[in-house]
Subunit: 427 residues, 2 copies
């Protein structure tokens, strides 16, 4: 028979079992933390009607979308979890209790240009809180608190959740009469970590911003010091603009509540350069960095938006959301060997039989399972050495050997595969 | 702004939060049981190269496949989890330890004709054990044991795992010199539950099977009585055919080991009519029915196959697998109100604040979370009644009310939302 090469498409992550166990541990930890804060699970389809999914999208994203026809239907694979959420909330408005707090952990699809560390199928782990007409600013502080708890649970010690408020930036531009250029300028500012101050100035000049105004912008984004110093410095700018004042007020509130929640100052900061290159966000914005690996870029981002579902409904649904790009994060952590394995085996115990008394084997296995242990029995007819090698390869921490002696005496011999210690125990 | 109707495609399950919680509980229970028996997790891509995915497929399935081009690539969405498993094992052969025991719980796609209770996107929950060259028959008994434990955990009391062996059927046809018609006859026999004995005979006549042979076939599939009676009756047929004898031997072994594993005779039986309409299976086959709802059809099926990955590799990889079609099962159980909710809320507690002392609120919330409780705080500025209504709507079992009195006395007031009982407790 002609054989087909069993290949997996480039840009699609497919892990070996031990890596998959690690991946799932991280995914489960994220899920547990999201649930700990009362977020409800959601699982929307991966395929949506293109008309619905692309009600808003355009430009860059659209080219990346997996879009195709099946019968008469024009279908697309979801490219994020936010648009499906918007559709869901608009569709089920009457059945939901607001604020609607949901998490969704699922795969999304983007036909990105092929590139190392870029994925075409990847997990996003999203939480969003959607209000009906209005949504308290405390919610903007709760999301970073959830992320703080999540990253702590994942064993990350040194990370910083950076927060800013788009109204401050917008207000600044209004006061400089640069509102028309605001999104262009924000896009430039957003790159400061990547391209440096000099190039930011150069690009702003390219936008025909006067040198005087550039100086003001730069002195604004260079405000430095502790979080309280920054908030004070913003106050001291005495920019008399409604948006600016509102944004500063909100940012102060978010800082205040994050502290009350117990997020330590070592794990968050105000970063006035963060704009999030999307027109979407209207208030608080977040990015999160591993302090020692800033080059990885933001590993968790999001923000506040005015109106989640305006393409589907007249209801005003303000929300705030944040997302962990799990597939990319896992890939990156793996590359720099930063993943700490809690355990790399599913089974706690491999039972190795050297007797024909299967009834006894099954009894011991059932007993372990009743005690909550995960147990595999090795059935194949191989040499004992091969059986232990199997346990080694799967990194199963304990083997239980049962031969006729053990059956006769009602015992089993348990061996710690790491230390080699073993003892014979009564059932 | 023109609004787009926020619709979800027909044939795609999208649940409200409380239903989703139930669905996830079932999915998690299945996962826990699969892991309890040491199955390793796998998560293959949903999109595969069409050439790889369709190396084997043809006929009916092919029409249902979601297949499309993206750039130069001919892509397809997976329609089951077995073909991706075959690809994976062939691809990673050198890195896997055999027997390779994996579970995969994931969505698969079939563009089925639109019909109530039929889904185009649905979860399959698969376990398979793959051997290298050979695989002990005990594995064929372990899978029904896993399924028995899983369904018990799901709270099903009355279900029957039906087992048969394809070699017995094939051997019978060989002895009747009907091998050429074997798969046609099996297809007819497979329908006996649906269409009845009369129609089976009629269809067999339509295949030009002689009346004498039909009588033999019917007396075979009508063998009745206890499991041991059936096995004895098969023996008593004294059919001298290698396949038949091998199949009967295997079936006896599977029955023996299932009993030793502890699967009670009330939850399994030998059913000689089960053939599984696929050419794929070569030995043991399974179907599972809810005794009181046989009309739902088999809710968990599978069997033994000779060679998992022959389209990709020369390695001989025999295996045995079984699958729960979760989406359909959930839909059906919901229709007949058979789903028992363990709990329908994610949050254990909703904290309702009636004080400005947010520090105290946050402290109480953090304490509950440290104790492993799932806690949501209600932040919105609403009347107290609306806050309790929110807890009711989400079916959150407890509310914790904190006002200035509680802050002053270092307490909180906890209310059981079902009974209405409440008490004030010291923090």
């Amino acid at each position: 028979m002609n054989k087909t090469e069993p290949r997996t498409l480039p840009g699609f992550m497919e892990l070996l079992p031990q890596e998959q166990i690690l991946f799932n541990q991280i995914k489960d930890t994220i899920k547990e933390n999201y649930e700990k804060f009362g977020f409800l699970p959601l699982d929307t389809p991966i395929i949506e009607d293109s008309k619905v999914l692309l009600a808003k999208a355009g430009g860059e994203t659209e080219k990346q979308i997996y879009r195709f026809n099946k019968g008469d239907n024009d279908l697309s694979l979801r490219f994020d979890l936010t648009v499906p959420l918007a559709k869901y909330v608009a569709k089920n408005y009457g059945d939901l209790a607001f604020p609607f707090r949901r998490y969704q952990i699922g795969k999304v699809y983007r036909g990105e240009r092929q590139q190392k560390g870029r994925f075409r199928e990847f997990y996003q782990c999203d939480i969003d809180i959607i209000g009906d007409e209005e949504l308290n600013i405390i919610n903007d502080a709760e999301l970073p608190n959830v992320i703080y708890n999540t990253f702590k649970s994942l064993g990350f010690a040194k990370f910083t959740i950076c927060i800013n408020n788009r109204k401050i930036l917008n207000g600044l531009f209004e006061s400089l009469e640069l509102s028309d250029l605001a999104s262009d300028i924000l896009r430039v500012i957003d790159k400061i970590e990547k391209i440096g101050k000099e190039n930011v100035i150069k690009e702003l000049e390219g936008l025909n911003v006067s040198l005087e105004k550039i100086t003001k912008i730069m002195s604004f984004i260079e405000i430095d010091g502790s979080t309280d110093n920054k908030l004070q410095a913003l106050q001291d700018l005495k920019i008399s603009n409604e948006n600016f004042e509102k944004g500063l007020e909100e940012l102060k509130e978010v800082v205040k509540y994050m502290r009350l929640f117990g997020v330590p100052d070592t794990n968050f900061k105000v970063d006035l350069t963060i704009a999030r290159g999307l027109d979407y966000y209207t208030g608080t914005v977040y990015e999160t960095f591993l302090d020692e690996y800033k080059s990885l870029g933001s590993i968790c981002s999001g923000g506040r938006y005015e109106n989640l579902a305006e393409y589907y409904t007249d209801k005003k649904l303000p929300g705030v959301g944040i997302s962990i790009g799990l597939t990319r994060l896992f890939y990156q952590l793996n590359e720099i060997n930063l993943i700490k394995a809690e355990k790399k085996s599913i089974s706690d115990i491999l039972i190795i039989s050297m007797t024909d008394n299967f009834e006894y084997i099954a009894k011991v296995a059932n007993k372990f399972r009743e005690d909550g242990k995960k147990v595999q029995i090795y059935y194949e007819n191989k040499k004992v050495k091969a059986k232990f090698k199997y346990a080694d390869k799967l990194e199963i921490p304990y083997t239980v050997v049962i031969g006729d002696d053990e059956v006769a005496s009602g015992t089993y011999t348990i061996k710690n595969m790491e230390t080699g210690e073993q003892e014979t125990v009564s059932v």
